[in-house]
Every structure is written in C-alpha cells, then in structure tokens.
C-alpha cells in the first residue's frame, strides 16, 4: 500500500505532540515542530518512516515576529514523499540544536546559517570558521535588517553615470507621459 503523508503524520502525532500538517502538494507537506522535539521527530522520520535524505536546511527571517523559521526538508525517496519541518526559534539569541550526527552534511548547512543568519549551533564542527564570507564584521547578511544596497553603496566605489530606475514608475513615465 502506498504510504501517504497523512498516515505518517497520524503516526507521528501518536508519539510526539507535533503541529498540524499543512499540505502543499500530494507529495509535499509542511509541519510545525517545537525546537525541543526536532531531534526526536527527525530520528523517528529517518529511522522508522524512511525519510533518509536531508534535502535542505535553511532559515527564514520573520523579523516582524522576532523569530527565525528553520526549515528541515526531508525526503523519502522510495515512497516519493517530502516533508518540511518548520521550527520557530527566537531571533535573539538565535541558537538551535545541531543535527550533524544525524546527517554529516548538515554541518555544512549549519556553517552557512551561522555565517549568513548568525544562528548558533553548539557542537557543530568547524562552525566558527569562515565559510563563504571572509572577515565579515557587519550584520549577518541574510538577516532582513541588513540592507545590501546601502552597504554596497557605502563600501564599494561606484562608477559615475549609472542610473537606477524603479520599474513601475519608469514604465508609467514611458507609457503615460505627463500623468502623475
């Protein structure tokens, strides 16, 4: 019998108090998990339900709610299902349990998150080494409150003569000249 995400969710909910399932497609759904249960959920999914492939681990900055959302997307290749685990952690101080023992490749993702979002993963190998940036001292660049345009204008010399238009305003000027 073909397993589907609802069955898996039901089995998961019987064991752990995870959140509701939000189905995006027949083969993709997202699930809210409290930070403390993440490891148990991942272990259950990996060892019992066959979600052995960690597709990606990334973060979304919900600055309005002072939270980071960590997305752990795991995949079951034989049943052809994807499940995204959404973990909300506070933005300051941002810290999360490392999962590099479950998937060695997660260490790389965690290094990137550490550098780009400033999220700490205690125990993850080589976490504080420079990964992509070198000698970065400003706000971690992927945070929403880092303004890349402003930083670029302040740091890098500009060639005079370059103009930037706002597309909407520019097209209005082009198509309906005279109208304000």
């Amino acid at each position: 019998m073909q397993t589907n995400l609802l069955d898996i969710h039901a089995r998961l909910q019987a064991l752990l108090p995870v959140g509701e399932l939000q189905t995006q497609r027949a083969d993709l759904a997202f699930l809210d998990v409290p930070p403390s249960l993440l490891r148990a959920t991942l272990l259950q999914l990996r060892d019992r339900e066959g979600f052995t492939h960690l597709v990606l681990l990334t973060a979304v900055d919900w600055i309005e709610q002072e939270q980071f959302q960590l997305t752990y997307l795991v995949c079951n290749r034989s049943a052809r299902l994807d499940l995204g685990l959404r973990v909300r952690i506070p933005r300051e101080p941002a810290s999360m349990e490392s999962i590099h023992e479950l998937w060695p490749t997660a260490a790389t993702y965690q290094r990137e998150l550490r550098e780009m979002f400033g999220i700490d993963f205690p125990g993850s190998p080589r976490l504080d080494e420079d990964f992509i940036l070198e000698g970065w001292t400003a706000t971690p660049p992927y945070r929403r409150d880092f303004d890349t345009l402003k930083y670029a204008e302040e740091t890098y010399a500009e060639r005079p003569g370059r103009v930037t238009y706002d597309p909407a305003a520019h097209m209005q000027q082009q198509l309906y000249p005279g109208e304000r």
């Binding site: 970065w136 880092f146 670029a152 010399a157 500009e158 060639r159 370059r162």
Partner: protein, 213 residues
C-alpha cells in the same frame, strides 16, 4: 592576524629550534618598482611586437566569464592562432583576464596573483560587472569598479561577452601593447598608495603585507 602568520619559534625535524616570522619569511615586502623601457626605441618596438604576439593568460577563472574561455581555446575559436595561450602560474603569465564579477574574497587572491606577475603585465576586465557592477550593483559582496583596485587596460562589455567579443578585445589589446600604451604595471607602482588604500577599504580581512610577490 591569523595564528599561522604570527611570529613563533619552531622546532625543525632535526631538533634545531629556529624562529619563524611568516610575514617576513614567506613574503617579500619590497615595494614594486617602476620599470621604464630600458633599451633603444627600435629594440623596445621589437619587444612590444613580441609581447603583443605572445599573450599568455593566467589560468584563473575568477567569475562566470571563465566559461567562455574554454571555447576560446578550442576548435571553434582557437585563440592559439593569435599567440594566445594559458599559463598555469602567475610568474609566467602576462595577461590577467578578470572574468566577471569579483567577490571580495576573490579580489584578495586576484591582487596577490597580479602582484606575482612580471612587468609588463596587462589586465582585461570582462563583462559589465567589472565596469559598473552590472547585475550585482547592489550586492554586498562584489566590487563595482575594477579600475579602483587594479590598473585595467581594456574592458570587454557584455553579460557575458561572447568569444567573438573576446577575440576582438584581444586584438585591441594587441594594438595597445604594440603602441607601448599598455603600461599598467608601472601605473600600479606609481600609484601604489592609492591602490592599496582602495583595496584595504573593501578587504576586511587584510592579513598579508602590502606587497607580496
């Protein structure tokens, strides 16, 4: 400063202890010299002709433009016909093709490679990102004007430039060299302080001496 660059005492394999000062031992801090044409005009003309007909490109693909360098060296475009070829080491190369956008991390390596090249040396900037930032005008990690950091002899526009554009650019560069106008290395040596100030402004992690060939 990084730990491996600090002055320290090291015990060699034969048990002798000696002092290592990496910045002094591994790098040379003598500033670049302005080296003017030294011979009679007719000999310099001969040399300039030879330089223009034998352009050795440093094999350093700094950005996405590097992908069009391979077709340039293969049957369709075959730049070998014009005396252009690759050299894997900066010591033997004359031309540095900055193939596209430069992130700050690469810029540091580019400066080092450029300083290791021999005078006369030329720099060609490829693509709109070396001219004014191009697509990445608002990126926090790429420079917008290459000529602030290195003396550029020639720009080839496009995103990315086609191999035909590259060939045309190289022919233009040949004309510059033959006329003796491609004098970037001396310009770099003359305005060394200005270039270094610009470079240090963007490279946060400046752990090398000012001149390191």
């Amino acid at each position: 400063m990084k730990e491996e660059l600090q002055k320290r005492v090291v015990k060699g394999p034969d048990g002798v202890e000696f002092e290592v000062e990496p910045l002094r031992d591994y790098y040379c801090e003598a500033l670049p010299q302005v080296e003017r044409p030294a011979y009679a005009q007719i000999i310099e003309d001969l040399f300039n002709w030879a330089r223009s007909e034998s352009i050795w490109i440093l094999g350093f693909g700094t950005g996405c433009g590097a992908i069009e360098m391979r077709p340039l060296m293969t049957p369709r475009f075959d730049a070998y016909r014009y005396g252009i070829q690759w050299r894997p080491t900066p010591r033997q190369a004359n031309l540095f093709v900055i193939s596209g956008y430069l992130s700050v991390k690469t810029l540091k390596r580019v400066i080092r490679s450029y300083e290791q090249m021999q005078n006369p040396k030329y720099v060609v900037g490829l693509g709109s990102c070396t001219i004014n930032g191009g697509m990445y005008f608002d990126s926090y990690n790429t420079i917008k004007r290459l000529d602030q950091y290195l003396p550029v002899d020639l720009y080839i526009t496009g995103c990315m430039p086609r191999p035909e554009a590259l060939l045309a650019g190289f022919l233009d560069l040949k004309k510059l060299i033959r006329a003796g106008k491609a004098d970037g290395a001396n310009h770099y040596a003359e305005n060394f302080a200005w270039y270094k100030a610009n470079q240090k402004q963007v490279i946060q992690d400046w752990d090398m001496p000012d001149y390191n060939w």
